[in-house]
């Protein structure tokens, strides 16, 4: 390996992850799931709403994680896919009276197609060039949604209001609680799908491309196909997150889906640990709660406090929450031996 080769064309190097480390242990997973199921019974509606948002952002970070952590492609354009998902759901619900649950697979399909098509020209680009291309997509999206001839559907700058669904079958729970459980079910299904995807032949192909594209192609991996596929899957999952987000917030507007959202999702991925799926939800918690916390510490300097906290995290654990999980695992292992 000469250093000269990784000057420009090299994709951002992502730590190789042993396959097992991608998920939590079964025990821990069940524990987390139990907590997620029980907590809403005891807390206020606002906290339930925040937990819903945590699941939704977690899902979006997970999608980025499949793309970057899995296939080694970097994207700053996730906010665009999120916006497409959100608008697909909002338009279908408000203009065509489609049931909210049905809009989710539709927006997944729409975003998959969009991501797949976007991945085609992006094939020629890697590293910073790909970052720039996806960045362009993210900055263009809010402007495109404001375009005049789309205004009839998108509501232009004003956006669209989405009706929040009631709990079905007369279940005795608030709208927020129902939406939380609904999101939890969707997120869980996609999480299991993603874990299995990364363990499958396709997942191994993603990781082979991430680690060494040339080696992967000489092993018979269809690099172009799997790279665009990774884009498609990632966009599809982000689209689902966008749909759920639109339903939870009850509102879509172009300016909610700017590049800032894409940067937050990126930070969430780094904090959670690149390539470690459960970390996505830790990262989501970081991007939802830490800015509020920073504001609480100092109103005028909230940005600086956020920056310092972010620095603290990346100094202490440069590999994100995954590092903590691995340390915890080792600790438990040592305790067992004694």
């Amino acid at each position: 390996m000469s250093a000269a080769e990784d000057v420009v064309t090299e994709a951002p190097a992502v730590e190789a992850v042993p396959k097992r480390a991608m998920t939590l242990g079964t025990g821990t997973s069940l524990l987390v799931l139990a907590v997620l199921l029980i907590v809403p019974v005891f807390v206020k509606n606002f906290i339930i709403f925040q937990m819903t948002m945590l699941l939704i952002y977690g899902l979006a970070v997970l999608a980025l994680n499949i793309l970057t952590g899995g296939s080694g492609q970097f994207s700053l354009g996730q906010s665009a896919f999120y916006a497409v998902g959100a608008y697909t759901s909002a338009v279908l619900m408000e203009y065509f009276n489609v049931n909210y649950a049905l809009t989710i697979p539709i927006s997944a399909a729409v975003c998959f197609g969009f991501g797949y098509l976007f991945g085609k020209p992006a094939l020629r680009l890697s590293g910073v060039y790909l970052a720039l291309a996806t960045f362009a997509l993210a900055t263009a999206m809010p402007q495109l949604l404001k375009l005049n001839f789309l205004e009839h559907w998108t509501g232009g700058v004003q956006g669209l209001v989405v009706t929040k669904p009631d709990a079905p079958f007369g279940l005795p729970m608030s709208q927020d609680t129902w939406l939380y459980y609904f999101s939890l079910a969707v997120v869980l299904a996609i999480y299991i799908f993603s874990v299995n995807l990364l363990r499958s032949r396709s997942g191994r192909a993603f990781m082979a491309i991430r680690d060494n594209e040339i080696a992967a192609s000489s092993m018979g991996v269809n690099v172009a196909l799997y790279k665009t596929l990774a884009f498609g899957v990632s966009a599809g999952i982000t689209g689902v997150a966008g749909s759920l987000g639109a339903i939870a917030v009850q509102f879509v507007a172009p300016d909610s889906y700017t590049i800032t959202l894409a940067i937050s999702l990126f930070l969430g991925m780094v904090v959670g640990g690149v390539g470690w799926l459960p970390g996505s939800f830790v990262g989501a918690a970081f991007i939802i709660f830490v800015p509020n916390m920073a504001e609480g510490i100092s109103k005028g300097l909230s940005g600086a406090v956020f920056g310092v906290l972010l620095f603290a995290v990346i100094y202490l654990v440069p590999h994100g929450a995954r590092q903590i999980a691995i340390m915890g695992q080792q600790l438990v292992g040592r305790l067992r031996k004694n």
Binding site: P12, V14, A215, M269, V305, L310, F311
Partner: protein, 292 residues
């Protein structure tokens, strides 16, 4: 035709801003192999320092030199304190560090100097340049300074020992270390120089966009685009890229129907990407040959 010439001229004038910024971006990319997202904020902070010095009664060029020196030292300090410990961390963690730095600088500048828009003086005056209504003497001066800067950097990198050492450290760090180059300090030096170049860009841009903590947001995006278009390995390419982006942007705004100010940026970016699809290393970038 008249309209076309005018728009091209205006494009070159704004392009000079982007060229300056792109040059700073390329400098730091050469030194550390990362795009520094906080570059614009660092430039903004330097500009505020020079403004503060002028408020205290120091003349323009005095403030200019002092701000430049402080930026140079500040750039080195940021590298030594904040980013050297991250040298071994994954690339994406470094990018997160840049975003953190961005937030810190932006918010501190807002607290120290608040978010009101401030006038910033120009040393070149703002009368029409050579009778043209489109280019003011300030913009002409800006182009002149950019070209001078580029020449200076060219001679520095081509004909001085330390310039050669920096190039070696950036392209083949292992071999550079073997011949006795202190690569770690070369990186710090790169940060210092990039920070100083950014400061020059900031001080030249401030009279046009006015001084405030968010002044560099848009400029940095164009600067990145210009750097990538010209090829991240080539300072000359960055400057050419800057002018091209400026001209692109103006022509797109004038000739493509339905493109207001809002869509100028996406269209400029789309054009750049189409160029990149054909020439993936940028217009003047070195094609990197990969060893398997």
């Amino acid at each position: 035709m008249e309209l076309f010439t005018n728009q091209v001229l205006a494009g070159i004038a704004t392009g000079a801003i982007y060229a300056c910024m792109a040059l700073a971006v390329v400098m730091i990319y050469q030194a550390i192999d990362h795009l520094n997202f906080a570059q614009g904020e660092m430039a903004m902070f330097s500009t505020f320092i020079s403004w503060q010095l002028m408020q205290w009664g120091i003349p323009y060029w005095g403030a200019f030199i002092i701000a430049l020196a402080l930026s140079f030292v500040g750039g080195i300090a940021i590298e030594r304190i904040l980013f050297k410990p991250l040298a071994k961390a994954p690339v994406l963690t470094n990018v997160a560090g840049f975003i953190a730095l961005y937030a810190i600088i932006n918010s501190s500048a807002g607290l120290i100097w608040d978010f009101t828009i401030k006038q910033y003086p120009t040393p070149f005056g703002s009368s029409p340049f050579l009778g043209s209504q489109l280019i003011s003497t300030h913009q002409a001066g800006m182009i002149g300074v950019t070209v001078l800067l580029l020449l200076g950097l060219y001679f520095f990198f081509q004909y001085t020992k330390i310039g050669l050492a920096m190039r070696a450290a950036a392209s083949v760090p292992e071999s550079a270390r073997l011949v006795g180059i202190n690569t770690s300090w070369m990186i710090a030096l790169g940060w210092g120089m990039a920070s100083a170049i950014g400061a020059i860009a900031g001080m030249l841009i401030a009279p046009v966009v006015f001084l405030e903590p968010n002044m560099m947001g848009g400029v940095l995006i164009y600067g990145f685009a210009a750097a990538v278009l010209g090829g991240l390995t080539s300072p000359f390419g960055a400057v050419v890229g800057g002018f091209l982006v400026g001209v692109f942007e103006n022509l797109a705004g004038t000739y493509i129907p339905g493109v207001g100010n809002e869509l100028k940026l996406p269209i400029a970016l789309a054009l750049i990407i189409s160029v990149l699809v054909v020439k993936p290393a940028g217009l003047f970038g070195r094609q990197i040959v990969k060893r398997v």
